[in-house]
């Protein structure tokens, strides 16, 4: 064997092992993050964490019940606002369409997806908080809802397109008009994929902090209705983590675990659910 061949062969082995190392590092990052949070946050999860309101500053105890409820309310609003628009928009792109409008809409949706969430927060502040003259769950829900729309739209379109032509033609053959075909045949056929897309979008916005900083603001107590500022998990984690109190730090870890757990479980369940059926297209 010539020297050159030896060199090439060893380079081969070295480089390929390096790539394996890269893959290993990337993958282990997730397990490390999860493990650390479980270890650090798990010991402070308690019944009071889930059911109590925060204690006065500097005093021990207290929990995050209002933040958990706040996040749930915000997600509900985001879903109510973002999902119908995204869904209907996706239906348009897949079923009606044409050339220019769908192209523009798709492109803009992808670009909107990439807009930093803090800019969305500023937008929601200017659009909702300033005219209403107070911070509110509603404003936070709008901010998150806008972020949900592009994902749901592209996802719906992609799954609707995957529905076989034969189903549509069968509906027409039975005398349905277009909207009936869409509503009764195509949408149900694609519903699994669409639902998973919605859940993934919601899991993503559940962890967003920046847009809530100046819309939902914060609340040390329960936030009744939709018009008052509300605490939310990510914002409370941020506030507690950057503060000096040891008790706050412990609570931040526990809350981080809860938030991460929610997001990861949703992602895992949804993706497993999807891949067990039709092949899915990653957005």
């Amino acid at each position: 064997m010539s020297m050159r061949l030896v060199w090439r062969k060893s380079l081969n082995v070295v480089m390929l092992s390096l790539t394996g190392l890269c893959a290993l590092l990337t993958v282990s990052a997730l397990f490390f993050i999860l493990g650390y949070l479980v270890w650090n946050g798990g010991k402070d999860l308690s019944w009071s964490f889930f059911t109590h309101l925060p204690a006065p500053v500097g005093e021990e105890g207290g929990g995050m019940a209002n933040a958990i409820l706040g996040t749930m309310k915000l997600l509900l609003l985001a879903a109510l606002f973002g999902v119908p628009i995204g869904l209907l928009g996706g239906v348009y792109l897949a079923e009606f369409g044409g050339r220019t409008v769908p192209f523009l809409v798709r492109y803009t949706a992808d670009l909107m997806n990439g807009v930093p969430s803090i800019v969305m927060g500023i937008f929601a502040y200017a659009l909702v908080v300033m005219p209403m003259h107070h911070f509110s769950t509603f404003a936070g829900g709008i901010a998150l809802g806008i972020m949900v729309i592009p994902t749901v739209l592209r996802n719906t379109e992609s799954f609707l397109r995957d529905v076989p032509r034969s189903l549509r033609e069968g509906a027409f053959a039975l005398g349905a008009n277009k909207w009936r075909m869409i509503a009764s045949v195509v949408l149900p056929a694609a519903s699994r994929g669409i639902l998973t897309g919605v859940l993934l979008a919601l899991a993503r916005v559940a962890g967003e902090t920046a847009p809530l900083l100046f819309t939902a603001f914060g609340n040390r107590y329960w936030s009744p209705g939709w018009n008052q500022p509300t605490a939310s998990l990510p914002v409370v984690i941020y506030t507690y983590a950057t503060g000096p109190y040891e008790d706050w730090h412990r609570q931040a870890w526990a809350a981080g675990l809860v938030l991460l757990g929610l997001v990861l479980i949703t992602n895992i369940l949804v993706r497993a659910f999807l891949t067990s059926g039709t092949a899915y297209e990653r957005t």
Binding site: Y36, G97, V101, G114, P116, V119, S158, N177, T209, Y238
Partner: protein, 329 residues
């Protein structure tokens, strides 16, 4: 109608001909209109967003003009605002993050696309997608309590000892600063580089590889000299995508960057980024000029990410057949 059996082509599928006579109250047309409005709302929201940012930043734009981008001071007392420290911080942290994340991500993508058996490849790719789903504030949490002490006590002193002659590694090591923020960002954007690069590599036809191997190349040579160059446009696209993501990252960065609007070549020193200053100062900017200067920063950030994302999508589109659906129908 001899097109592919599985794709729905809207143009080919007709409305029910019987109701053509009642155009205006046709249920199909209502459906068409409603869904069109929903789809157009994306365009409307984007336009509204740009409009708001433009209008609300008017005061700062007229007062400072282009000078805004070259001024270093950020002085709320004197009413003098310049974007340079924030643009610098944003670009530096993103650039260093890319330096770390791109080799890592592309390397891992090569492994997953070329070497790993399909099942391993898709499950590892799945794990990487989960990593992308981790909220920014969690990264910040880990950054503040885990990474910062390690940087301060171990990593930065080590760098100083070995590479301290370089201007990048001078100065006191606080643990908080450009370098730490870059590392956190790198971990956050690796999944994006990985998933897009992997898809792009998988899309390169098999015969390319086989031709190289038939000519006597090692596996690595066939990958590095044939497949990767063929996919390089798409890989660039993934880099742009990751960059766009890194530019806009807020929470993790503001928790570890030091929040000091100073420009310094040393990576150990604290800095500021556009997203971080917005998070810190937006709800407190007293005075219209201050607020509009901040919003101008927001506008800059928005435009940067918008343009980068646009370029990225274009590049990825060109390489993969699937693309992102931008190709008309």
């Amino acid at each position: 109608m001899a097109t592919t059996p599985n794709a729905a082509t809207p143009a080919d599928v007709p409305s029910n001909p019987q109701v053509l006579s009642r155009r205006w109250f046709n249920a199909d047309d209502i459906a068409h209109l409603v869904t069109l409005i929903a789809a157009a709302s994306i365009l409307l929201i984007t336009v509204l967003l740009v409009y708001q940012l433009w209008v609300l930043s008017a005061e700062a734009r007229t007062k400072f003009g282009w000078h805004f981008f070259f001024t270093q001071t950020w002085d709320p007392v004197a009413g003098d605002f310049g974007a340079l420290p924030f643009i610098y911080g944003t670009l530096v942290t993103s650039a260093v993050a890319l330096l770390i994340a791109v080799p890592l991500g592309v390397g891992a993508a090569i492994f997953l696309a070329e070497l790993a058996p399909p099942k391993l490849s898709s499950s590892l790719s799945f794990v990487s997608d989960l990593l992308a789903a981790v909220p920014s504030v969690i990264y910040g949490l880990l950054g503040v309590f885990l990474l910062v002490p390690i940087m301060r006590t171990t990593v930065q002193p080590a760098l100083k000892k070995t590479l301290g002659f370089l201007p990048f590694f001078k100065g006191p090591s606080y643990g908080i600063g450009f370098l730490t923020a870059s590392i956190v960002l790198a971990i956050m954007i690796v999944p994006f580089v990985l998933s897009v690069s992997r898809e792009v590599l998988l899309a390169i036809p098999r015969d390319q590889r086989e031709a190289a191997l038939a000519l006597g190349a090692t596996k690595w040579e066939s990958t590095w000299k044939v497949v990767v160059p063929a996919a390089r446009i798409g890989i660039f696209g993934s880099v742009f995508l990751a960059l766009a993501r890194a530019l806009g990252e807020t929470m993790a960065v503001t928790m570890v960057i030091g929040n000091n609007p100073k420009i310094s070549e040393s990576l150990f020193s604290p800095g500021y980024s556009i997203a971080a200053v917005l998070a810190n100062e937006f709800s407190e900017a007293t005075g219209n000029l201050y607020l509009s200067a901040l919003i101008e920063l927001g506008l800059v950030l928005f435009l940067l990410t918008f343009i980068l994302n646009g370029l990225a999508r274009l590049l990825i589109l060109v390489t993969t057949a699937r693309g992102s659906g931008v190709l008309p129908s």
